[in-house]
Symmetry: C2
Subunit: 309 residues, 2 copies
């Protein structure tokens, strides 16, 4: 039987042990475990990689500690603007939303964009409007309220800065969630979802919803979901770069991830990381930051839930 | 002295000779000539590639026959949502706007995004808000009104379809403008701008504003500006793919453009084209459609303004 695998992340960055309690760590680990189990169960019963990444990312979006879906940070106007994407490595089809504000699971809207819109990327109020036509429930602002995020926003406003999912001044996290999967039929898929930057202005879009930048899947090479300083990940076309290093230079997944994450991104200050899978089921969870919330599970027995290096 | 060059496009597609009058053809050619001359003059006097592509694209945006800036098509709500990007091959810095509605020259806002926002991509009302803070004049809807575009929109609404810049039922055009330039210092730059699809809904974003998809520049490889079926150009990460074929496989600009435009894109129905330059000043104006409005001018004496094959 072919290998099947899934890997997920809940964001990367400076995750200080000093601000982490055993209880909080346990909560994060439970959130990761629940998401990986949901995705893996789909793969185990013969489901598709696309279904698996959608389910895993939905689970992460529903978990209030991660900056995506329910746990999305506040923007400058006190609202929520979420970005997400999904890509099917079998067909190279993709769906993405940017600046969507009122859906529970942006990744599920991405799936609908991919399958029913005739487009790849929808943005802003238009993306919410499309979601409505597809029968997605419109959530009120209350749904996204958590005390932690509200406090972060108030702090960010006081300091007049745009923040990456800070939990305190010393810690820096790139709040994003994502998943990559390889199913029993050998198909790869990737999905990424984020609430973006605390106190963000001007409809800023990061790398998460951009196929090729924060999200990419191609059965011939790999599936990638990124988390980090979005602007630098866009400029370096990170996810597709790894695919090209494999396809055009013959590198392994590990070699390609190493070059991009530990060399190319480091050189330009591109802090962050990614989860990646190739068609053989090899898993990479690479990051150049202090930590990355991450987990993986493979039919060959590998099963991990990790935060620090 | 080093070669310096510029190439521009005003969109690709089925440009029927039967619906083209000598007067109209002359107008298009004059629009292209004016834009290429503006960009070339900047290069000739030692200006930067970024300045040259910004000036050339601004000129094309001001020309009402091209679907960008003033000539932008109507969206489903009777408004205008423009997408654009600029990228500096020297620094890999980029700026982009998506769904911006009230500025005269979206490409100039992209330049401000790149230099002053700390971000790469801004969208929707937020992008207009940013433009205001940067001192850009807010244009009224009248500015974008042309009888031709209004008629196209009315027809599209009657047929209930989302159209690519149609001029009549038989013709299909991908209305976008773009420019690539190589300056005397050996720096490459690219810019693209579009009004998107007639009657478009749901805040659809195409490839034009996405670095790596419709726009890319890297001094080590090439500068690219695309025009075509945006969704397929996003999924194939067209502009960065050409760069990777050069960097990782050692192909020439011509070989890389040939593979992507005439093979990869054709296989998935990705009609369209692109203008491209490498660091030696080689110019490619490649398309798989019936025609592409295009022009180029190089210090080695090449000077062309063309529409058909």
């Amino acid at each position: 039987m072919s290998t099947f695998s899934i890997a997920i992340h809940g964001g990367a960055g400076t995750i200080l042990r000093s601000s982490m309690t055993p209880e909080l760590q346990q909560q994060y680990e439970q959130g990761l475990q629940a998401a990986i189990d949901k995705g893996y169960a789909i793969l185990e019963t013969g489901g598709s990689a696309v279904d698996a990444v959608e389910a895993a990312v939905s689970s992460l979006e529903d978990f209030p500690l991660f900056n995506a879906g329910r746990g999305s940070v506040f923007n400058n106007k006190g609202g929520h603007e979420m970005d997400a994407a999904i890509m099917d490595g079998r067909t190279l089809e993709a769906g993405a939303v940017a600046g969507i504000s009122h859906v529970k699971n942006p990744v599920q809207v991405c799936r609908a964009v991919m399958e029913n819109s005739g487009h790849v990327m929808l943005a802003g109020a238009g993306a919410d409007e499309f979601a409505k036509t597809q029968g997605f429930e419109q959530m009120s602002d209350d749904y996204y309220y958590t005390e932690q995020r509200y406090k972060q926003w108030q702090e960010a406003m006081k300091e007049g800065v745009v923040q990456l999912d800070h939990t305190d001044k010393e810690s820096k996290k790139f709040g994003t969630v994502g998943a990559v999967a390889l199913d029993k039929d050998g198909n790869l898929a990737a999905a990424t979802s984020t609430g973006g930057l605390t106190n963000k202005k001007f409809g800023r879009i990061g790398d998460s919803p951009i196929p090729g930048a924060g999200t990419y899947a191609n059965n011939d090479t790999c599936a990638i979901s990124c988390t980090g300083v979005g602007e630098l990940f866009i400029r370096r076309v990170v996810a597709y770069d790894i695919s090209c290093l494999m396809e055009y230079k013959g590198l392994s997944l590990r070699e390609a991830c190493d070059i991009v994450v530990q060399d190319k991104l480091v050189k330009i200050g591109g802090e962050g990381g990614l989860v990646a899978l190739d068609k053989h089921g090899n898993i990479e969870m690479a990051f150049n930051s202090e930590g990355m919330y991450r987990a993986c599970k493979s039919s060959d027995g590998r099963s991990e839930v990790l935060i620090y290096r």
